[in-house]
Amino acid sequence: MATSETGDGGADPGGVRRFARNWAAAAAGLGYLPLSFAETADILHGHTLRLAAAVLAGTFDGQAGRDVGRWLVEGHLTEPAVLGWAVQALGEDFLPLVLPQLATSAPARERISHLQGALAEGYARALRNRTFAQQSSIRQAAWSARDAAEQALRDSEVRFRAVFTGAAIGIGLADLDGRIIDVNQAFADMLGYTITELREINVGQLFHPDDAPGMYQFYLELIEGKHDRARVEKRYYRKDGAPIWTDLAVSLIRHDDGRPRFTVAMVEDITDRYELQERLRFQAEHDPLTGLPNRVLFFDRLALALADPDGQVGVCFLDLDGFKSINDGLGHDVGDQLLAVVARRLADSAADSGHLVARMGGDEFVILVTRCTGTPQLVGVAQAALAALAAPAQVDGHQLTVSASIGVVASPTAGTTPTEVMKAADTTLYWAKADGRGRWAVFDPVRGARDVTRSALAAALPAALDRGEFVVEYQPITRLSDRTVSAVEALVRWQHPQLGRLGPDRFVALAEETGLIVRLGRWVLEQACRQASRWRAEHPQAPIVVSVNISARQVSDPQLVGEVAGVLTRTGLPPELLQLELTESAVMATGGEPLPALRRLAGLGVRLAIDDFGTGYSNLAYLRRMPIHVLKLAGPFVEGMRVAGPEGDRDERIVDALVRLAHALNLTVTAEAVETGEQADRLVALGCDQAQGWHFGRPVPAGEITERLSRGPDRTVTGP
């Protein structure tokens, strides 16, 4: 269409601007503007001019419409409604606004129609192309991203595969059915299979009856998803049957949703370490000399046996008799070899029964009888042990006969500790030794309790003496000729804070065993002399003698004489008012020779009495040469006189003989344990000089004696 055909002049600039702005406003209102409104309007201004030019062109073609359609897409004005607006506005508003001179021109309207079609065509083509291109590019991008991710996964897999393949530790994967999916070379080597062979093995086949209890159960729970990992020391058997020990860590791998998927096992061969541990454990629990279990293992087993809530356990505690002399005499080497022989024999003697034989140390051995049926069974075990040792042992050219003492203890497991059992065994062993060795003794709880009390008392003695828990009482000794108190015997009592008043029978023997008797005796002597001196001062006209017991330990104490002299000096008591009572065994202590100490005591002027005369093995010949003043007849003879009949008669004749003997030696005779007037009368008839006993008065505190003395010259006693 020529310009002449479309009228004079070009596009109306104001109309072009208005059309472009309307277009931009529509685009902004209907879709997304990638540029600002003004920029968009600028661009659309250009498009409007291009379209106007096409209407005015001499020769029309639709290219301008297609171009503008394409530019809209390229400018991202792709909201479909914007295209709709453009096509409609082109038809309705373009000519009136932009080319008002052609508003009614039919050719122009025809060109507009063509341009509408061309614009839609160009837009659609460009949008289709762009959509294809973008779909293609996003797909490309997706593939490329996925490729990159997969490449990364492959790289990662290669890295992990390298770790898996090259790891020194065995790694294996198994599915939930226990089928082995894959293992590495280290795992295969460890078990002596090829990888292919292992892939055909089920995990279940690798479990073993010797596995720790519950291990298989735990594995089952793991694949059920109840646990995520497990770590155990597990024994495997290699293909060749050799056992290996491993440190096994199994982890459960789950699906994304948490369902169990497969298991990964990491296995380290710790056979060497395990064997070393076992060796160390064996060494820690066994005695290197004899190879027997040691006290560690013994106490472990004992504790284990005692853990059984209602059983009985037995212990035979054995100690060789006189082993020290063998060791000292023949040397430790011989001693050690003898111990090894003893150990072997004891082990053999118990081998069939399965009892544990352990060396506790030194020459002490112990046989542990678990599930013990009672003392008879233990006695059998002890006898078997003694029998096993009976035959002489050939050691290093010596023929050694060895015996042993055994303490036998059977104990219910409930409420007993290993310490209590072994304490009882130790006590019982001591009894067996004390009973003469080469024998067994069975624990007696009553005796044991007594022993316990004794040792408790023995332990408490020194402190009791320091705390002043001892008191001295005095028992009258009556002269039978005039029935007056001529002397008192000092008797020590223990005012025990818990047990009450204890007599000498409860603690004097203990004090002698522990040596405390020296201190205790010294204290009693001091008290008695001080008291006697007081009585003498109060009653100078009728002095009484105080008689104090002196133990064998004291007699052999070289300081005794000096002490007695010191006490006499300190208390001012004349020596003739002090009488020391000694037992026959104390007097005869060394080879039957009278002790020089006795002569020196006698030299001080002190009176000496033989206590409990007639019960020991007195050598009458020496008795004759000793500086003795008094014989105290042992209680049993006097007690026997109470009995009517032949026995009573016999005791009376013995007393008669002893009185005559004493008188023949110029000794005074005192009868003890006189309890009845009849006894007193007979003793008088037999010519006995003095008597003491309940008939004449029980031991009483010093105050009562004082009172009795104060009653004046009539000190006659007629009984309790």
């Binding site: 003004a38 779909q135 590019s137 996003i138 997706a142 490329s144 991203a145 990364a152």
Partner: protein
């Protein structure tokens, strides 16, 4: 490649919609798949303004970048760039300063791959796959491209991305670490979805966003403002998107709050250091 904590690389799951592709769809692009379009239509059906919100966000970014260019900033770190097709930062920047440099960062491997193909023919712009929650790594790798010198002012762009960081991942801490990398004169640009002034359906749309790999956390103006830290917020402050320096009054209608997002720009002034 980003790797998960286990050390195994993350895979690409094309059966799940991607936020970047949904965004592209809302901007009229075809860089998306059925699953993205379906989600986009679902979201759009519930929140009619959402498409406009995304367009408004894009327009805000454009205006902000131009403002930064006008202040002489010539290097940009665009974190959460998505698929940089329509109105992307390097085009806006290069139109003003052909020497300007851009480093795009996105967590979506597909978006990153696509960006890479687009940028293959563009100089001075590269893309990295990284996670906003690791700002130190982002800065170190951006610096390693040679396109960004953190000793000079840099424009850090967080357009519609910070709301993908849940509170449990300490977004304020992430922002603090990111800001600490910037030199004096640097800018921080943030647009962030909000529940303030919003109808209830916005919250429903937020729940839908959980179907993409990241859920949107809507935040208050105060929380968004706090993200700028010691940077000085420039006029007009943290505002609804169309209100931030509109090109013309015609661009602002009667309900700028309907876009459901705040935008703001702040600058690190010397005094703050």
């Amino acid at each position: 490649m980003a790797e998960q904590a286990s050390g195994v690389p993350a895979g690409v799951d094309l059966s799940r919609p991607s936020a970047a592709r949904v965004y592209d769809y809302f901007l009229g692009g075809a860089h998306n798949f059925d699953v993205d379009r379906q989600l986009a239509e679902q979201i759009a059906a519930m929140t009619p303004h959402l498409a406009e919100t995304m367009r408004a966000g894009r327009a805000f970014l454009r205006r902000a970048v131009r403002a930064l260019l006008a202040d002489g900033v010539d290097q940009f770190l665009d974190i959460g760039s998505g698929i940089p097709t329509v109105g992307n930062v390097h085009e806006v920047a290069h139109a003003v300063n052909p020497a300007a440099t851009v480093v795009y960062v996105d967590i979506d491997p597909v978006a990153v791959a696509h960006s890479r193909s687009i940028l293959a023919e563009v100089g001075r712009a590269v893309v990295l796959q990284a996670d906003l929650r690791e700002p130190e790594a982002i800065c170190a790798r951006a610096a390693a491209t040679g396109l960004i010198d953190f000793a000079r002012p840099v424009g850090i762009l967080l357009a519609g991305v910070a709301h993908f960081v849940p509170d449990a991942d300490d977004p304020q801490g992430v922002l603090r670490r990111l800001r600490s990398a910037a030199a004096v004169g640097s800018y921080l640009v943030i647009s962030h979805a909000t529940y303030e002034d919003q109808p209830p359906e916005v919250l429903a749309a937020q729940r839908l966003s959980a179907r993409t790999d990241t859920e949107i956390t809507l935040r208050s103006r105060a929380e968004v403002t706090a993200m700028f830290g010691d940077f000085a917020i420039v006029d007009p402050g943290v505002v609804h998107l169309p209100l931030w320096r509109p090109d013309s009054d015609a661009d602002v209608d009667a309900h700028p709050e309907r876009f459901g997002a705040f935008g703001g720009v702040a600058r690190l002034d010397a005094a703050a250091v």
